[in-house]
Structures are given as C-alpha cells and as structure tokens.
Symmetry: none
Subunit: 211 residues, 4 copies
DNA sequence: CATGAATGAGATTTCATTCAT
DNA sequence: AATGAATGAAATCTCATTCAT
C-alpha cells in the first residue's frame, strides 16, 4: 500500500545530519539566536525539509538531548554501579571522561544547556534529575559502600562526589567556551591523571586534620 | 560647565538599576532572547531612557562585564600574589570563593558569558585572557614558588591550578543553572572546606605513585 | 489506443471522491485555508495523485462548480419556462427547493462561493450571469406572462422574483453557516409551504395600498 | 508620571482607520487570505503599528465584530420590542434595513462571517446566539403579542419571522457578493417597500387555504 | 530629560507544487 | 499510476532602535 520514496536508512542518515548541524548552530549561536535557515543550509537541505523531520525548533533541540546526552549517561551510571571498588571506579571514570570530552559533542551540548537553561526549565530540570543527580547519587552510593567495606574513609560522600565531578564540568566548559583553534589544546589525559591521584590520595584521608 | 538637570549621583544610581535589571534579564533569557522592553520594565523606566544611558543592547552587555567581573578579578590576583605560602593562599581562596558565589551576581554573569560566548568572541576571549588566564597563571606561579621553597611538591603546577579552580566553576554553574527555589541550597562552605582539605593533602603528595 | 492501466470508471469514481473531499474541505476552511494535504487525506489518496487528476487547487475549485451547481441550474430554469401558470410554477419551485437545500451540497458550495467570491471574481460573476440572473430572469418572465394572461397582478416582476428567491438564499446560508449538529434542524418543508402561501397571496395583491 | 506621546483621540482615530482597512481587506480576500501587510499599507501605517494596537490577526477580526455588528443589533431589537403594533414594527424595520444595507459595512461583515464561519466557530455561534437568534426571537414574540391582541393571525410566528428576515440576508449578500461597480445598483428601497406590502398582506392571511 | 509610538528587518512556520522513486 | 519527500515563496509576528512629543 505505502510506497516509500526513500529508504528508512536514508531517512535516518538525513535526520542525523540535521542533528549534527543543529548541534553546531545551537552551540555557536545559542538556541534563540540560531536560525533554522542556517541549520538547514549547514546540512545542505532546505528549510522545508528540516520541518518535515522536526516539527519545530524546540523539537529539534529535544532531539539533541536524546541523541547526545542520554547514551553517555547510561554508560557512566552503569560503570559506577558495577565497580568492585572505589579505586577501580575512579580509575575507570577518569579514563572514560577525557575521551567523552575530547570527542566534542557533549561539551557543546553542555554549553547549550547552560546558555539556554532558563528558556527551557523543564528540559534542564529533567536533565538535572535524570542525568546529573543520578550520576552524583551513584557516586555517593559507591563511596558509602566503600566506606562500609573499609576501603575508604570519606567523611561526606555527597560533597566528595561533587569534587569528583568538578573537573569534568571545568574541562567541558573550557573545551566548549574558552578553547580556541590556535591554542595548544588542554591536555585532558594528564589533567585527569592528576585528578585521579588527588582523589586516590583523599580516599583514605584523615578527616580530622581540618584547616 | 552647564548646570545639570539631575545630579551625577542620581544618574549613577539609575545606571546601576539598569545594569541590575539587565543582569537578571540576560541571565534568565540569554542575550539574544532578552528584550529591551523587559529590561526597561524591570527597572521601572522606559525603553527610551534605557537608550539614553546605553547606546545599544551590546553596550549594556559590556557594561555588565565591567561592573560585575572586573572588581573580583583584581582582588583574587592580589590575594594570590601577596600570599606568603601556598597553604595560606589556598586557605584564603577557599574562604573567599564561597562568598562570591553565594552573593549571586558572578554566577549569573558566568552563565551569561557561557551562553553567549560565541556571539561575542572578542568579549569572551578578552575575559579569558584578562581574568581567567591571569588567575591561573598567578596560581601556577604561587605553586612554583612554594615548590622552590620546599613547602610543596607539585609535579604540574599548571594542571594543578586548574584542579584548584574546578570547584569554583562547578559551584557557579550549579548555582546559576541547576539550583531551584525549592531545593536545599548547595552547602558552599562545607564544599570548599572539603576541597581545601584535599588540596592541602595533595600539596606534598608523592607524584611517583601513578595509577 | 493504448491499453488503460485502470478503467475509465475507476478514474471517474476516484475523481468524484476527490471532488467530494474538496467540497467538504473548502466548505470547512475556505478556499485559501484548505490544504491540499487534507483534501488528499480525506479521500484516502496521496497528494501526488490529487495533482494527477487536477492540475492545481484552482482547477479543483472549478471542478466543484461544474459538478455541483450546473446540474441544478438547468433543472430550475426548465421548470420555470415550462410552467403553464405562475401558481403551478411557484408550487413546483417551493417543493423542489427544500430537497436541494436538504441534500446539502449546494448550500456548501454557496457558502464557499460567498466566502471566496472576491478571490475568484470571474468565477463568481460567471456564476451570477449564468445561474443567478438566468433564474431571476426566467422568474420575471414567468410573472410577466401571468400578468398578461390575467392570472396575476404583479407590479414589479423583477423585484418580486428576488423576494421569491430570498428564502432560498436564507435557508442555504442557515444550513451551511448557522446550523449546528446539536440543534433541531430548520423545518425546510414547513418554511417553504408558508413562503408559498405568502407568495400566492401576493400574486393578486392590490398594489395601490402602499404604506 | 506617564507622558503621552500622542493623545487618546489620535489613538482612537488610528484604531478606527485600522478597523476600516481590515474590514475592506477581509471582505476582499477573506480572513485567511488577507495579509496583515496589506491591511497596514491600506491605512498608511506599518505592520508593526498594527500589532501595537491589535495583538493578532484574530484580535483585529474580533474588533470588527464589536464595532460593526454590535451597535446595529441593539437598535433593531429595541425597535421590535418597543413597537406598539406588528404593522408599525414592520414598517419601521423595512425602512431601517435598506439604510443599513446601503451603508455598506454590515453586508461586508456578513460576507466575511459567512466565508470564515467554520474557521471561527465560537465567533459565528456567538454571533448567531447573540444577534441572529435574539432578533428572530424578538420578531416571533412581537407576532405572538399581535396575535393575542387580535391585530394579526399568524399561524407560525417563528417561521414567519424567518421569512421577514430573508430579504435582509438576500440583499446583504447581493450587495456584498454579486453587485459590481458597473451595474445599476439594486433598488433596496423599492425592494423593501414591496416586501412590506407582502408582509402586511400576510399578517391577516387565512392559514387554512393551503396550496 | 523622559517617554512610548512607530518602524521594518528578520525570525519561525506553512503549504502548493514538483519530481524521483 | 501512485507516492510522499523536497522545495522555497510567503505569511504571521517580534523587537532593537529611533524620534516626535
């Protein structure tokens, strides 16, 4: 009954090109300032075609969240939950993060989310609830487990989790906001090796020696 | 000199009200999506008056950078350069930062800068050069000095400086982007006390025990 | 002659389905607001197929006039010209009209024509010339004949003809515009019986008793 | 406190010009096909100004209903309710109507309402409820009163009321839809004099003499 | 000085029409 | 023959900026 003018594969590939173009335009201009014309032009399609695949600018934005952020999230949470020890979890994390940051799409999305967070409170709060807090909670639980097993002595697992994450945010922002084409790139691998050393060192730190 | 219809003080006060309104509108909507009408309405003045004091939306944006960001910068750099030891510098820094974050205006400005960094590359790169890199450089020099004096053994002062700064960025973003009215606020003081402990612990960390 | 892939009958049936769908869409949305997609969807065909049978939206519109309005016109004019007396003609007319109105397609077309008359002045003026004025002229001639035969005493046959027609327009508009699903329908038969009585009564009315 | 850039009078006058222009554009093109640019151009103002006074195309449309239709309605209903007899009421009505039709704005509005009735079901049904049905009800009540006083013998007052109204609709439509610049105009006065005669004649018509 | 009415360029979105499949 | 993907012109609506009052 239904004849297909083009294959499903071709459609999916076209959709991906649109998402890629949207990511770059939103990243460069912000959600509001980005123009649908430019997104269409960037992927070599007409504006009408863009609207054939995404009903609105906002739908396109949501599509980005789905395809860029969601996949990473699952991986990280699983990594933390499956880890046999805090040491191994932090090792895995500090090895994985630089790759994700260097790949480039997540820093761009984070930059977009920060810039337009107030324009889409539902999206940003959903992201916070489903991605950020879940990851922070998974980290905190990991440290509570390792505290109980005697592996670590972490006084405030929730705050500690945030310090673990801080350089992730920092480097994403750096990559997306401050890095310039001409500059020597930030040595992400070395940064996270150093971060790991500090974290390892702190895992069994005596909490009484307050400053 | 002609007689003034209104005093310079009244003018300055009016200008400040406009800047405050602009900070909030830019923060809530982003530079592009913020409307001059709304900024005018927020400070109880007419749009015409706004243009009497600032020639354009962009001029207003520049005004924000000048009044919000610049003052902090000087203070921090001076604090680091004048510190007699790395330990004392970090103590001072981790005490000062939570105050600045909690005050609220800097996180808002940072959020705006991130969102619209690509729209104003000159501004953002100027900010990077004059504020960020100068602060990072001051930190790195501090650690080189303390290494030489034997106080510390920091293998990579430049990377270490970034890890010092990471929670500042994290908490600013958290404050500006994720914090919600209903939520219990992030305990900034405790976070930076913990951060300080980790940093102190790391100052004399043995760099050979790599992961 | 080439062999046909589908029969002429199947083609005609398909064309009719398109016209029916178009009548309803034009009626519900007006010519401009009606979408070709919706017309296609309403008759279960694709947009491409629609264009295979009608070259443009306007062609489709013309097709409606031809198939809906023209057939009625011939019947009415013939009815009036063949009538042996004014009384019998009015009887026939007031019996025929309620059926046509109740059938529904003509009121819909009239509503469309009124709504878009200025967009298609040629069509509407053609319709006026060929349908309306011809019918009004046939009526007026009928009354002139009956005046001469002594059957009636109608002072102004042309104006009288318009008053004969007025309830036709009124009920068509009512049907097409004001009638709602929930309402008790307008009793067309009774309305036209009453109309007939008034007309009969007026056929021999003494014209001198002016107000 | 509030300085006015222009006077309230000037504003009202400008608003009226916009409404006049809108009436003509909607009348000529229909609601959907009419362009806001053209309406603005027709009253010598910019599109932006139009939106300063009316928030949307639909608001403008509503403004027309308010200013064109509402005033007439009150007058007619009052005329019918205050009439001492059916004869006098019909005389007053058939004298008033030709003026209103000839003035031109109401026929235009009626044409618009018919054309776009399906696009604005709430408006058209509100109009029906508040204008049409109220007028028809006032007429029917008038005839019931005159039946009781012995002045008239009208078998079906509700249907009779519709026949009273029919030529109003007919002539409005004729004026708005079929009348052309070159044509001799329809003699409204004579038409309604004839209509009045027929109505008067029918007021005491013997209902038994059915056709 | 201060105001807010006016402007018009530019944004998102729609849809008649075409044409490769 | 039939389909529906693709196009781009055109519509509504917004808003930074200007300027008469």
């Amino acid at each position: 009954m239904k004849k297909r003018a083009i294959s499903d594969d071709a459609k999916a590939e076209k959709k991906q090109r649109m998402l890629d173009a949207a990511l770059d335009e939103f990243y460069e201009k912000g959600f509001t300032a980005a123009r649908m014309d430019d997104i269409a032009a960037r992927c070599g399609l007409s504006k009408g075609t863009l609207y054939l695949y995404f009903n609105s600018k906002e739908t396109l934005f949501n599509g980005l969240i789905e395809t860029v952020a969601k996949p990473k999230q699952g991986h990280i949470v699983h990594m933390l939950q499956a880890a046999p020890s805090a040491h191994l979890a932090l090792t895995a994390l500090t090895e994985f993060v630089p790759q994700v940051i260097a790949e480039g799409r997540l820093p761009k999305l984070i930059k977009i989310l920060i810039g337009d967070c107030k324009a889409f409170p539902e999206i940003i709060q959903g992201y916070r609830k489903k991605v950020i807090e879940q990851a922070l909670a998974a980290l905190a639980e990991l440290f509570e487990r390792s505290n109980q097993s005697g592996e670590t002595r972490i006084a405030q697992p929730a705050l500690f989790a945030r310090l673990v994450v801080a350089p992730v945010v920092l480097s994403a922002i750096w990559q997306a906001v401050f890095a310039q084409d001409g500059d020597p790139p930030l040595d992400l691998k070395a940064l996270f090796v150093l971060h790991r050393q500090m974290l390892m060192n702190a895992l069994t730190m005596d909490p009484t020696e307050d400053a």
